[in-house]
Amino acid sequence: MGSLRRVRAVMHKELAVLLRDRFYLLMAIGFPLVTMLLMGYGMNYDVRNVPLGIADLDGTADSRALTAAFTASGYFRLVTVTRRPRTLDDEMAAGRIRAAIEIPSGMARALAAGRVAAVLVAVDGSFPLRADIARGYAEAIVARFNQDRLATAVLRVPTEAAVPSLTVESRIWFNPTLDSNNFIVPGLLVINLLMWPPVLTSLTVTREKESGAILNVQTAPIAGWEYMLGKLIPYAGISFLSYWLLLACAVGLFHVRMLGSLVALSLGALLFVTATGAIGLVISVLVRTQVAALLATVVVVMVPGMEYSGFAEPISTLDASGRLMSHFFPAADFMFLARGVFLKGFGLAASADSLMRLAAYAAAAVLAATLAFRKRRKR
């Protein structure tokens, strides 16, 4: 009973401060939304319209057909056509094209003679992932071009037995249209709830340490856990509110469909903001100044949280040590849950494991915060 009142007293105070301090409110609500919008619109992992330069030294119907095969694919966008291969080098060095094709003179002649004609394809490797995908496209387009040639040849000589072929049917599950938003937006939801709650909470206790207001609490008969809970609840609460706004943004603005259980996702979000908020509190209790708290939050929470969250690449593509590390950060679990609920249609049952782990993280973080808080200083 008494505990409840004390927790509530701290909560009320924090809430009033939070709602009346515009900068805090901005950090709790404004910055996550802005980040979401900027990143949602600004991030793009689609490899389409790769700027392409072609040096067609052949100038025949065949070379034009090959060029057309590239431009018609939608994966490449023809930017430069030249007769000088050197020009392509410069264009690529200047970053104006990312892929270059050099069709040597005599290609058509070689093809007509039934020989294999070499075509040089250069891909800019500065962005390795994109380069790799562009290379795949280029190879597939040329393979297709060859297949078509073989097929026409077979048509021309119908008596021959059919040439065996092997096609690859690619099917994409969970996000068949490969819409980038479906990938990025749920990820951003997680990243925002990873970043901002600990920034908020790591500043709260240090701010009181700097002003001396912490003494009010230290000299009052209030237990450490009561104070920590009173601090955590408003910040976790406002971060949870921020979650709903981000969710509305994801569904309403970015048109990401949510296939799974809203309850599971919301529960996960609540546990997640509790965990990240509590980690911020731990930092806040351990350091003395707001600046130190911010730096520690970036170094201890944000950077590794991002790296091992599975935001940009699936956890399964990490090596063994990376996969192991990801278990130490709640971000990976919530990322898995969020993408699962949004795209894979996770219900409560499918989410149960992740929820349990998130609950364990949250409990551990809150416990750590209350254990770290001392009402009496050594120095």
Binding site: G2, R5, R6, R8, A9, V10, H12, K13, A16, V17, R20, D21, S211, G212, A213, L215, N216, V217, Q218, T219, A220, P221, I222, K375, R376, R377, K378, R379
Partner: protein
């Protein structure tokens, strides 16, 4: 009545921070119902003792017992019995909470039942006269009101013991007077025990007993009279101030660490308010500073309102007034840091609105807060200061040397500024302000928090600069006792000039307005106060003495004797009005005269 039973016992307390010992063997016994003052400059260890007593800091050795409970063993049990107000003029308040929300927050922290809370709230708002401001955000409160809110917050559970850490620092004289009346009333009506710290040594008189602290040790403890008597061979304790006692004890017990403060190059003039020689001698016709109707507005707030005055060349001119009176703003306008909204001003003949560059070359400025680079050494700071004034290489080195010598910083030359003791830092700040040999020096609260010895040395330096080298000094302070060091004074309040004149002139004016002060000393001072209150409603209990204002001292003396009768024996004598009272009196009179300022003043004090 004072109960001989000890309620706070401090036994052999030691506390060491990273380098120096903060508390170095402190023992104290405070009786129930006592108002006990822990006096000393910044860094003396006062706050550390208080924090250990409040159970928020662990001592290295020793113990504190409150009401017989060992704080170390059962801090939570102690916390229920005490109220604690941290340092820093309500810095520890929450700017975004209202007065009422503060009270409710502290009540709920302490689990006070609703009914009881309402009673306490009403009582406290009433005592503090905060009722009208109950709905106001803390960030919109004046300094005095913040202090009262801090006090009310610490008192919400009406504890038996109140620990107050520098409750009066930076508060205006009116609010200070209010504060002491509140403390007195609490002590009288509720028998509350108060342990407080203060850097203002003159406040010793307000306490029943005091301990003088310096560098973690107690130099002396006892009632103010006892201390004075012990420190002086001449039994003229009336003239002796606690400050003198402190300085005497400090220099007696000074170890090698104090050596730095030992000598000062120029002999200082007597601190008594003798007009500067430049006033008497044939002075140049042009005053060093002339100000006409100078005004500064920040949005809706008028910080400085049509202020006019003149300062003669070579004069030490004191600006006195509480925080927010407009002292700093005026000085900043004169130093070329702020543009006046209207009105005019000249410094050494240069216009403060138009000839800012010329002014910057001729004035030195020492700002309110320590504003040198903590990460640079003394020497680096001074070289930097000289170079930014465009001094050449040779001249820079030369000036650094002479300034270090003049100010007595020799042995600190290669120490980082942030590691300097406070008094030495202030000296460094002064050195940085004079390294380019300015003709006019602006000092904005240069001595805040500095120990008395360092303060008096600082004033000697100022005296040497002014009377020895003819530098004009405009200095602001909220230590009213420092007024005595100035040739002339200007009292400021709420953006207005309250009064200008020499200290003795101002005191005469105050006496004329309110009467002289009669002091009643009695062992049974509480009964004396109760007996006199019907006759003198505005009497003040100052420590163990009762002060009343009297226009007819002879008649009043008889009335007092009659009122006290034989039951309460005591002695009565006329005393000199303190500068605090002079200031408070002149402000009150000024408020009557200028109704424009009255509204905001009333809001400021909650009257």
């Amino acid at each position: 009545m004072t109960d001989p039973r000890p309620i706070i016992e401090v036994r052999g307390l030691f506390k060491r921070y990273r380098r120096a010992p903060a508390v170095d063997g402190v023992s104290l016994t405070i009786a129930s119902g006592e108002i006990f003052g822990l006096l000393g400059p910044d860094g003396a260890g006062k706050s550390t003792v208080l924090q250990i007593a409040a159970g928020v800091l662990l001592p290295d050795r020793g113990q504190v017992l409150i009401d017989g409970i060992d704080v170390r063993r059962d801090p939570e049990a102690v916390k229920r019995r005490i109220g604690y107000m941290p340092q820093g003029l309500g810095l520890s308040l929450y700017d975004d909470l209202t007065v009422d929300e503060h009270l409710r927050f502290f009540a709920e922290l302490r689990g006070i039942p609703e009914q009881q809370f309402r009673e306490h709230r009403r009582t406290l708002l009433d005592i503090m006269r905060l009722g009208p401001a109950a709905g106001r955000l803390a960030r919109h409160l004046s300094g005095g009101m913040r202090q009262k809110l801090g006090l009310a917050s610490a008192l919400i559970h009406l504890p038996d013991v109140l620990l107050l850490d520098e409750p009066t620092t930076g508060v205006d004289p009116l609010s200070r007077r209010d504060f002491w009346q509140i403390i007195d009333r609490l002590s009288r009506t509720r028998g509350i025990t108060v342990l407080l710290t203060t850097p203002y040594l003159d406040e010793a008189e307000r306490c029943h007993r005091v301990a003088l602290m310096h560098r973690g040790r107690i130099l002396a403890a006892g009632s103010p009279d006892e201390l004075k008597a012990a420190a002086t061979t001449v039994a003229e304790s009336d003239r002796v101030r606690i400050e003198d006692v402190f300085v005497a004890l400090m220099s007696r017990g000074a170890g090698p660490a104090d050596a730095s403060a030992r000598v000062l190059p120029t002999p200082a003039p007597s601190p008594a308010a003798v007009p500067g020689p430049s006033l008497l001698a044939g002075t140049p016709p042009e005053p060093a500073i002339r100000v006409e109707a100078l005004t500064k507005r920040f949005g809706a707030l008028t910080a400085v309102n049509e202020v006019s005055f003149e300062v003669s060349s070579g004069e030490i001119f004191g600006f006195l007034g509480p925080n927010g009176a407009g002292k700093t703003t005026t000085i900043k306008m004169l130093a070329g840091l702020l543009r006046p909204t209207s009105g005019r001003g000249w410094v050494v003949g240069y216009d403060v609105s138009g000839q800012v560059d010329a002014i910057k070359h001729t004035v030195g400025y020492m700002s309110q807060r320590f504003s040198l680079y903590g990460d640079l050494t003394v020497r680096e700071n001074l070289l930097f200061a000289a170079r930014i004034y465009g001094l050449g290489r040779h001249q820079t080195l030369e000036r650094e040397r002479t300034t270090v010598d003049a100010v007595g910083l020799g042995e600190w030359r290669h120490v980082l500024a942030r590691d300097l003791p406070l008094g030495i830092r202030q000296r460094l700040a002064l050195a940085a302000a004079i390294v380019h040999e300015p003709r006019v020096l602006f000092l904005d609260e240069p001595t805040a928090g500095v120990d008395p010895l360092a303060r008096s040395q600082f004033w000697e330096l100022i005296g040497a600069l002014s009377h020895g080298q003819g530098v004009t000094v405009l200095v602001s302070t909220h230590y009213m006792d420092e007024a005595e060091h100035c040739d002339r004074l200007l009292f400021m309040h709420d953006g207005h000039i309250v009064s200008i004149g020499r200290a003795d002139e101002l005191r005469r004016r105050a006496v004329a307005a309110r009467g002289t002060v009669l002091e009643v000393a009695s062992a049974r001072f509480r009964e004396a106060a109760a007996a006199l209150e019907p006759i003198f409603p505005d009497l003040m209990l100052v420590g163990r003495r009762v002060h009343v204002f009297s226009r007819h001292p002879a008649g009043d003396q008889r009335r007092i004797e009659a009122a006290l009768g034989a039951a309460v024996p005591g002695s009565i004598r006329e005393i000199r009005m303190s500068m605090d009272d002079v200031f408070a009196t002149l402000i009150e009179r000024h408020v009557d005269v200028v109704p424009a300022g009255a509204a905001s003043l009333a809001a400021g004090t909650g009257a």
